[in-house]
């Protein structure tokens, strides 16, 4: 990338600026400091993911198990993927703000948009994962007198776990990357550095923010990838005895 900086004073590339900003102790101190911003960023991201999970996971499990209503679920997921997050924020803003002038402006719209962003991958992966559990196992379980609930909880869900976690993975990355939008509505988080960096013509702050977001996203992804591998380990080999 070419240096976006066109300041009269000294041609400093955004790389130098970024390094300088990241290494400046001042960037790490106080309520606007990096640690604080990271916490804010994660707080909203995690909250959004939790909400999405509470909605999408049970729905996905139910649909996948019943093998009915898949078309509808996937359709909804598609809609969710297609609406731009900032448009969503704009649309819910007046409503949330009416209930709570403070948080209804700075937090809820972003939280809502992020939750909507996270639902599709979790929903679709969950129902696909459940649907693709080896039917012989499902039958074996039924044959042994599992109730449908027990079947879902003890056989289908555990076996679908790797796929479900895969959904969380992409949801997490997307949410962490997009939570930056919150700064437009005066929320904290790493988005602040990007918005302020632009407003204050501070490339170091802008790209520093970008780097931090990327690091956070990739870190979270790596963590979930690890979990996914652990979950996949047991059921790695297919156990059909046919030689």
């Amino acid at each position: 990338m070419v240096a976006a900086d066109a300041d009269g004073d000294g041609r400093m590339t955004f790389v130098e600026a970024t390094v300088r900003w990241l290494t400046d102790p001042a960037s790490w101190e106080g309520p606007g400091g990096i640690p604080a911003r990271v916490v804010e960023h994660l707080a909203l991201s995690v909250a959004a993911l939790l909400i999405a999970t509470v909605i999408a996971l049970p729905a996905g499990l139910a649909v996948g198990h019943a093998r009915r209503g898949q078309g509808v679920s996937v359709g909804l997921a598609t809609v969710g993927r297609a609406i731009p997050s900032f448009a969503l924020m704009g649309l819910v803003l007046p409503i949330t703000q009416a209930y709570d002038p403070a948080n209804g402006f700075t937090i809820y719209p972003t939280l809502f948009a992020m939750a909507v962003l996270a639902i599709p991958p979790i929903l679709v992966n969950t129902l696909t994962g459940i649907r693709e559990v080896d039917q012989d196992l499902v039958e074996a379980a039924r044959g042994m007198g599992f109730t449908e609930a027990a079947l879902l909880a003890r056989v289908e869900a555990p076996l679908a776990l790797p796929v479900i976690l895969g959904g969380f993975r992409s949801a997490t990355v997307q949410v962490i990357a997009t939570t930056t939008l919150g700064a437009i509505l005066a929320y904290g988080g790493l988005g602040r550095y990007i918005i302020d960096g632009i407003a204050q013509r501070d490339d170091g702050m802008l790209y520093g923010g970008v780097v931090l977001v990327a690091a956070l996203a990739v870190g979270a992804e790596a963590l979930l990838a690890l979990l996914q591998r652990l979950a996949a380990r047991r059921s790695a080999e297919p156990i059909r005895a046919n030689t």
């Binding site: 990338m1 070419v2 240096a3 976006a4 066109a6 955004f14 996937v74 359709g75 598609t78 809609v79 993927r81 297609a82 609406i83 731009p84 900032f86 448009a87 704009g90 649309l91 992409s170 990355v173 997307q174 962490i176 990357a177 930056t180 990007i194 632009i198 802008l206 790209y207 970008v210 977001v213 990327a214 996203a217 990739v218 992804e221």
Partner: protein
């Protein structure tokens, strides 16, 4: 609630923006797919390539479009080229994973049979692996097309000349005009749903073998 009169007055714009939206999305998808496919094929063969390329795709995904635009405009102008850069980059995250998964899903015994009959590497890839990877690859294209159609709006930052339906969304938001936001958002969703169906149909069309149900139980 909606100002139908306004919509009526702006049908030509709506048509033009919809076409532009499709153009931007289609180009992004085509290029994104080409890149992902190339990397995916390589990664499917040389496993070591996958983690790094996946990681890079993931990182790129987190760069805000505004930053990308700011960086590229002086070089590439307020052009479609500039607009496509983030769009293309964002598709990689989804497509790359699915292309690789697609090739991984090809049954080992089929590959072995192919080798045993003297297929060359390239030929095996073209005649055996590729067709069998299609279902998962198309699945990736479905998701990618939908999210790309959603993302096209961000190109509105590059000026009224771009942005597809996103133009309405942005302008609508600067003046808090619900009708205009809806005129941008609703067609976007419709396009996404249509694209999703289209790829589903495409997959059915090019994988006839998977549609036929077995007429006899395997012994």
């Amino acid at each position: 609630m909606l100002d139908w009169g306004w919509i009526g007055d702006h049908l030509p714009q709506l048509a033009f923006r919809t076409a532009q939206h499709l153009e931007l999305a289609a180009i992004a998808l085509a290029i994104g797919f080409a890149i992902s496919f190339a990397i995916g094929v390589a990664a499917a063969r040389w496993r070591v390539l996958y983690p790094p390329s996946a990681a890079i795709a993931g990182i790129v995904f987190t760069i805000p479009s505004l930053a990308l635009f700011a960086a590229f405009v002086p070089a590439t102008g307020l052009s479609i080229l500039t607009a496509e850069i983030p769009l293309v980059l964002y598709t990689l995250v989804i497509l790359l994973r699915n292309v690789v998964a697609g090739f991984d899903a090809v049954p080992a015994d089929v590959l072995e049979a192919a080798d045993a009959m003297g297929f060359t590497r390239g030929r095996r890839l073209l005649r055996i692996e590729l067709p069998l990877a299609v279902p998962l690859i198309v699945a990736g294209l479905r998701v990618a097309s939908v999210s790309t159609i959603g993302l096209v709006s961000i190109t509105a930052i590059l000026g009224d000349a771009l942005g597809g339906l996103g133009f309405f969304i942005y302008e609508g938001m600067t003046r808090f005009f619900a009708t205009e936001i809806a005129v941008g958002a609703v067609p976007t969703i419709v396009l996404a749903l249509v694209a999703d169906r289209l790829f589903l149909w495409l997959e059915r069309a090019i994988t006839p073998w998977s549609r036929r149900t077995r007429t006899a139980t395997a012994g």
